[in-house]
Amino acid sequence: MLIIAVSLLSAFTILLAGWINRKSCCFITIATITFQFIFSIFILRHVLTVGTIHYWLGGWRPPWGIEYVVDTLNAFVLVVILFLSLLVAIYSKRNVEQEIETRKLPTFYSLFQLLVTGLCGITVTGDMFNLYVFLEIASLTAYALIAVAGRRALKASYNYLIMGSLGACFYMIGVGYLYSVTGTLNMGDLRILLPPLYANRAVQAAFVFFVIGVSIKAYVFPLHTWQPDAYTYAPSTVSALIASTMSKVMIYALIRLIYSVFTLDFILSYIGLDMAICWVAAMAIIAGSIFAITQRNLKRMLAYSSVSQIGYIILGVGLSPLSVWGLYGAVAHILNHAVMKGCLFLAAGAFIHKEGLLDIRDFEGLGKKMPYASAAFTIAAISMIGIPPAAGFASKLFLILASLEASQYPFVAILLLSTLLNLVYFWRVIDRMYFVGHEEATDGGESEGSLPLSMIVPMLILAALCIILGIFWLTELPLPLFHEILSDLGVSGGVTL
């Protein structure tokens, strides 16, 4: 597919261009991603109006050649990834100049571009092995990007490397099992070939390996241990990019595996499997929030908050066999969380960029010193808490309705409890920024002028999106999108019990 090719090519172009002119790298990245983004919107339109796109790589027919399949869900995730990457790329220009040596810039941007390539690849592919290849591309670049920041990041990156490779191995073993049983790796074929083999132990084992492998990458609790360190010590730009896009893509892979490869019949044929997923998610939601409360480092707090928010999405996935609202909630939250967390990490990056502040206790009076970044942070935080009419509210609403429809009342309580926990750890920051201490002393000191526009604008766009999306999800506009996704995934609208 064109997107991948362009992206891959430009990654190498950047490296080459870097030899000639260090400044050009960033612009090439931005230009490429802009192009990809515009293209992905066309794809989404096409998919919504015409139908699924199939593309046979090299013209080989599916069982032998690699097939790219784009349906509504992919297209949607693709738009999310590329939009976030674009904003982060714009933001990165000034921020990276400060955090990373100029010498490393070309490498940085080519890695950046490769990561985006890998993520897009995972999204569009319709082949299990090809997914693995892109998974590795994305992961390896992510290890490198995290390590760019220096010493402590190296250790974090190393942890991530080990855990990540373990996850990839698990995934690969799953692929091997499936291939040995069915003789194909094409998702569409697997979907047709697998049903008679559901009782086969190898298939069952493969499923478990897949879920664990992808869960490690998506830092589903309790497999999240690599993630807080990685997010904390990585350059802010990288944290923002990985936090908002990479985990989403992994979740996408999980949804794809569950729905398109194994189908719901498989899940439902094992009593309690969907509930097990839900309970893991519930644990993630609560544990992530509680860990977040204990953190003093802002980025670390955000990292744990991500663990908790991923739980929301997984909960939606787990509830989806019982209620369509579960899937709605999961899909909505993929976008919402990408936007909110992106915004929060960009704001956190801005605080570091200008004031060098990491510890929440030092945030006093920040609201006056950096009004735009603080405002963006506040809006995104309010959205995370789920106060209407912000975006987080809509996801929460869908998930609550899903739990009710599934008659799983404990999850309603967990979602609401998590709201309060989110409130505790985010409000602490907001309080510090705006209200604690009398800031007359620092009044009128520095102006925000020193925060470059290229950093402010992406943050403000994301913050505005938090509100706009919140209203968007509440209207009936996203319904066609949801219906398309449901029909693509083979769930015939309505409850499938």
């Binding site: 609550i400 999800w473 009936e476």
Partner: protein
């Protein structure tokens, strides 16, 4: 054009808020926006009244939500309009008052104050006009969040911990509310507020209905019913205009407004009777009335005493609704604006006393009636009204509540006794203030104040609004239909299916 009136009404504060922020360097312009917006809001709200009294319902829907059968939008009915009129009319007066108060005390962060004040009004009007529970919830939460910066205006550690307490209570309540709303939607497929209740709710199981009702009650911790009241006295640390409008009118009234909505417009009178929930609600209200009054007697800080008085008075409204009789609900609905006007006068007086004399405690107030006669006169009039003594409007709402209790089949006498005892307690905690102010001599040290040290009335911006509200408290007694209040109540009662009066 008519259809859009609710939209215009709510847009005024929303437009004013950014304008206030933009003109932060020009205090006069900034306050100008506030006043302009408040007057505009009030005129829009009031302009709907004749139509509503005529029996029409103004509907204004923005979009169909993703949930089937739920439209995001407004439906103006008589009861909602009563609340909207109360809060929008008082916003004008409190804006005037806060100009005087904030400038006299030279408070910091005044722009922030006016900014969030406008958003709080936005939330309150939205709550009043909402067509269904989902819309209600959205504005309810906006109201909660936008008042936080007002509560902690001082930014002292105590103020911030008060703010945390405020949030802990109200947002927890919000969680229960959300659960109850989604439950309602799940059970009935609708969240519309329908006079007489959602019919489909009757077929749900009794246990679920009872659990849901308690969730709804917990949702309205804003109504400060005991034992979930303690955020209110704590939040009194806010500047007086905030206490006046938000904790006497908008926030707590949104709470009781919500309870009446749930009782009469979601569960409906029949269902409440059938489940026996009215007795539970009435019991809670009676308990709060009495205990709140006892707490009030024990307070020396004037604002805290007023806060406990608010807690007690709010339960009159809950009690009236719990009676489920025409007179009881009428009394409850009348008490919303009447208590609003009276309590706001008392709070504004408390603020004026503080600005003029610097005194916060009742025990220090000996003889101030001579120093600031206008303020104390207004205070005395409305305090009498609170106790239910004519010729002040509190008498009317209380008499209806008494009628409501009298016509009950069971326990009527008990509740009648509770109302009377509570009124007596009101006298006990208000009378000493009046007595101290007018009939006790000034302490010796202060009597010889000459020239500069002499204590005068508070600034004109503060005294005028409180005089106006005090006068209104009397006008409401003489002519209860001022601002269409009485007609609206009658319309609301007819809507609820009680027939004429």
């Amino acid at each position: 054009m008519e259809l859009m009136t609710p939209l215009f009404a709510i847009l005024c504060p929303a437009i004013a808020a950014p304008l206030i922020l933009l003109s932060k360097r020009h205090p006069n312009v900034r306050e100008g926006w506030t006043l302009l917006a408040s007057i505009a809001t009030f005129s829009f709200v009031l302009s709907m009244a004749p139509k509503i009294v005529g029996g029409e319902v103004i509907e204004c829907f923005f979009f169909q939500t993703i949930f089937e059968n739920i439209y995001f939008g407004f439906k103006v009915d008589a009861f909602g309009l009563i609340f909207a009129i109360t809060s929008s009319s008082l916003w004008i007066l409190v804006s005037l008052y806060s100009i005087g108060y904030m400038r006299a005390l030279n408070e910091h962060a005044q722009t922030r104050f006016y900014f969030y004040f406008a958003w709080a009004i936005f939330g309150a009007i939205g709550v009043a006009l909402s067509a269904n529970l989902l819309t209600f919830y959205v504005f309810f939460e906006i109201l909660t969040v936008s008042t936080y910066p007002l509560v902690i205006h001082d930014q002292s550690p105590e103020a911030i911990s008060a703010g945390h307490k405020y949030f802990a209570y109200l947002l927890t309540g919000g969680c229960f509310f959300l659960f109850a709303i989604m439950m309602t939607y799940y059970l009935t497929g609708t969240t519309d507020l329908i006079p007489g209740g959602i019919a489909a709710l009757g077929s749900a199981s009794r246990t679920i209905l009872i659990v849901m009702f308690f969730c709804f009650l917990l949702a309205f911790m804003k109504a400060a019913w005991m034992p979930f009241h303690s955020w209110l006295p704590t939040a009194m640390i806010a500047p007086t205009p905030v206490s006046a409008l938000l904790h006497a009118v908008a926030v707590v009234k949104a709470g009781v407004f919500g309870i009446v909505r749930i009782v009469c417009y979601v569960y409906g009178v029949d269902l409440m009777h059938e489940l026996g929930l009215w007795l539970v609600l009435a019991g809670i209200a009676a308990f709060t009335m009495l205990v709140g009054s006892f707490f009030a007697i024990a307070q020396d800080n004037l604002k805290r005493r007023l806060a406990y008085s608010t807690i007690s008075q709010l339960s009159y409204i809950i009690l009236g609704a719990a009676f489920l009789t025409s007179n009881g609900i009428k009394g409850a609905m009348l008490h919303i604006p009447f208590h609003g006007f009276m309590k706001i006068t008392l709070f504004m007086c408390a603020g004026a006393i503080m600005v003029a004399t610097g005194k916060k405690n009742i025990s220090e107030m000996a003889g101030i009636g001579k120093q600031i006669p206008v303020t104390m006169l207004a205070f005395s009039i409305t305090a009498l009204g609170m106790c239910g003594i004519p010729p002040v409007c509190g008498f009317i709402s209380k008499i209806y509540l008494c009628f409501g209790a009298w016509t009950l089949d069971r326990y009527g006498l008990i509740f009648l006794a509770v109302i009377l005892i509570s009124s007596l307690l009101d006298v006990i905690y208000f009378f000493p203030i009046i007595y101290t102010a007018f009939f006790r001599e000034l302490p010796k040290g202060e009597r010889s104040g000459t020239g500069e040290g002499k204590i005068k009335e508070a600034p004109i911006f503060m005294v005028v609004p409180l005089t106006i509200t005090a006068i209104f408290s009397i006008i409401f007694f003489i002519h209860p239909n001022t601002l269409f209040i009485f007609d609206l109540v009658k319309t609301a009662i007819v809507d609820l299916g009680f027939g004429g009066i």
